[in-house]
Symmetry: D2
Subunit: 306 residues, 4 copies
């Protein structure tokens, strides 16, 4: 269970079956520094172009289609004192007639106080002078190569993960992706210092992080959509438009999980989900929207065979 | 600021301009006992038919179109020891092909322990034997008469409120509805002992409550969609299909609130919403879905003139 | 089978259970002159307010819930030499970011040459100087009172019809509405001299018509959504958002029709629909969108018992 | 302007930047025989796997990003006497609760009479014994490599074309695709002998064709979505979910076309589109739905500079 340090010299704007830049073993740890979503590094040097340049892909030896790739987000350390955000609500999240009144799209700089663990606007507009937000690191875009030789822009997401922009994908979170190609081919980038639900200005606070992840293989654990786990809850992610369909995917995947690994009947799973489920919104900005379906562990039965 | 006790003898299955059964003054309190969503009372007697029979309407003297009706949910006391739920996920919340595998729709009984403040299934299926949920009372359907002489089924929702099934509408919550007709005409019913996000089995734990609300008028406070406030946050509600459009309404209403009463520019409001907004899902079962857009008060500037 | 001439003095902006202004027998004919969608009559006098003031309702004696009201559109004669249209694409029919570039909403006048049967812009912009369109009369909004005591704005549509804005609803078309209340309560108005698919500027060429319809009752003919028939085809109408759901309703209703009255199995109906169905778009402007599902009669089997 | 005969030995299940199998000049003609959507050839031999194996890609010398690739569908000759279809309506085109009643998915064989130019079910169910449909050949899936190194499954569609399943893509139709990579990389396959709107059983009559296309380059003709032309009309194609968004893309592209090459103001284009536009539905089965926005040439002004 080695520790690898990945220092990229090229990046990718797709999640696809491109040649791996690193091969690791089941259970290995990878430490790597990410560019911001526009391709600028921690020193302010533009190293690549957007959207969302990815570190990787990392081949995980032994991963096969039908397995799940387990990604533990061990640590996310901010490595730059600045970030940027879009400064106007996205046209697709307001009522269509309201778009006429939106100001032109622009971006704004944020200052990241790594000592204090806070972020604030460099030049706050009137009324936001006192707005200081706690750092809440998250990975905006990560996932594996999709099926069939497909390759998807890092501006969107699908069954293989991608640009889900869910603020729950932070340190301490464990995520599983369905494996579609041998070696899984794991990609990672586009980290945010903080982000509201929906990524409704088109960005979080975009900056650079050193990220530490542990990659391991759950053999023969088929899943249709990404799954995740925190200390307190399990969750699934559905990626599609409209949001209704993203919700259908996330809900169906949770149903599969509960009836599969937890051994509940559809009726039992329905009872449980019906009264305790929580939905959370990933992004509603990208071509595919992201909906999270979550259940607190305290309500779950013991998984089968455990 | 009187206290009124409303004991209905008829109920309504629409929110519309039907004759009021009670007239109250600005700031008065109303205490009333609700039927369950199928029309059965606390004693198990079927008093009315579904969907969601409403107590009311209550005319609030002095309320005029352009005002907002402020509803404080003061208290919700469960008054029956049983509730019921749908026992299968709704067809519209799973992937279409998954519907083929769902069992037939049925309902299940729940036991409500008013002393302990808990609910549990009367006959739990395997795996849910230990599932005991805390009581979390909420109003499923409430609102005012819509504009133009319209009347909407209590199975759906719109600008005037209605069947939003948001679990945040519980004791301690303050809600504002836009007033469309003189007197506002307030309706209330369909209370749940507990409910997951989305009301994805088509029900919460449906039962009867004694509800105490305080009704007051915010003069000349136009709003397009319901707004709310808890101890810690403000929120807006959008009701439409698809969920994307419900989100657009809720987001636009929050933008109006922040740029109106809080005096932010659109850019400032965008910055704030972009990094701190939270979305919560009301129901995704009814003809109109409900999305909540929420901001914690600790991030808000001081409202204008306060 | 009498002929009635309805000369309204009041109009309605909802389809609901309001008192009828005329009672007719099964098979009777009604002739009536409509206001334009803004409430102006053939003489340019503003008689009512928008949206879409309706003539009616007309009670059809003997119609009961579970029956269908059959409406034959016998004749539509334009009775004014002018019409008006919206002059900008609706915000909801273009990509959200494109809304920023749209000019402000305005309206434009059209001249109707009743002799020649043509319409043209009064002041055509550059490039449209030669645009002369053939008159293609259609009823924008018609239908019956909905179930449950509901009342819906004439700006939208539902199971009971309403503002469907389908250009196929012209002379020679037969339409059936499901009857929800005794007497059906038929409404009619909002006629257009011409209109493109989708009503994407928010209007057709809005003007006044003398309309002749024949109203008859198909006893015990349940249907969930409006159905129609032309010389060459049968069709169904679904009204909802998103357009996908409108399409689901229209498709499901056609499936019901083919498996019911035409006696096909679901598989046979699927084969037929799969290879010969045509979809047409009513409006994509109103709160509910309208999708038409159509099959040419030449592909249909003989209906049962005929 | 050479004529090339392309005889594939490999096929592709994605549209992406894979190595070309043929390079042709601007204006050249290509003749090629396609497999059916499942990968079977004209002799009944399974040559490749689904979904929708593509012939190509064909590199068109001189095509550059920013150009448009013009594809003239010159001829489609059926080369097999059998085809197959799905035999049940897709779950996503009926109301969700209706899915419970659908029979299991299956397929059915059709006989193609190339002499008579007709197709009919091999074993028609009761009521369809006399159903004989005229051959109406169309290309289900064609397009070019997408931007950014992406590669999309031939089961879906996007800005670069793909599996649009629009029955208008038949002989005599001219189609333009935006070029994203040098040489354009054109793919073609999945032809249907006949198909209803929406491809609502998941297939048309799937069979093999010899297809003759002429490929030429329109230099520096940017477009965001595919465009097309028939003898009588011009049209645009939008591919997305929900159908509303596909319609927004198609409508926006038509607006761009009219304000660009036809020189209309947005207002003039709105007037024209508002009163004469026609929408047609491509597929509503695939991950992305397809909507066509069409205008008859007789209503168009003269294009700029022509």
């Amino acid at each position: 269970m080695a520790v690898h340090r990945l220092v990229p010299t090229v990046w990718h704007n797709v999640l696809g079956s491109v040649p791996p830049v690193l091969a690791v073993g089941d259970g290995d740890t990878v430490i790597t520094q990410t560019l911001d979503s526009g391709g600028t590094d921690k020193d302010g040097v533009r190293r690549w172009h957007g959207p969302n340049p990815m570190n990787g892909p990392i081949l995980v030896e032994g991963a096969e289609p039908g397995d799940a790739l387990c990604v533990d987000i061990v640590r996310m350390t901010p490595i730059r004192d600045t970030g940027y955000t879009g400064s106007v609500l996205a046209a697709n999240v307001v009522e269509p007639e309201r778009v006429r009144g939106l100001p032109p799209r622009a971006s704004a700089n944020w200052l990241i106080d790594r000592e204090a663990g806070t972020v604030r606007l460099e030049a706050p507009p009137e009324g936001l002078e006192d707005l200081v937000l706690p750092l809440a690191p998250m990975i905006g875009c990560f996932g594996v190569a999709p099926r069939l030789g497909q390759a998807f822009s890092t501006a969107t997401s699908a069954e293989n993960g991608g640009n889900m922009d869910y603020r729950g994908f932070g340190p301490g979170c464990r995520v599983w992706f369905p494996v579609f190609v041998p070696g899984a081919l794991f990609f990672l980038g586009d980290c945010h210092a903080v982000q509201g639900d929906g990524e409704i200005v088109g960005t979080g606070v975009e900056t650079c992080f050193e990220v530490e992840v542990r990659l391991s293989i759950d053999k023969a654990r088929p899943m249709a959509w990404p799954r995740g786990e925190t200390q307190d809850a399990i969750f699934t992610a559905g990626n599609a438009r409209p949001l209704d369909q993203a919700l259908q995917h996330a809900t169906s995947e949770m149903l599969s999980w509960l009836t599969g690994e937890y051994g509940l009947s559809i009726t039992a799973a329905s009872h449980l989900m019906g009264q305790v489920v929580r939905y959370e919104v990933g992004n509603v900005y990208d071509p595919a929207y992201t909906m999270i379906c979550k259940i607190e562990k305290r309500w779950l039965p013991r998984p089968r065979g455990k």
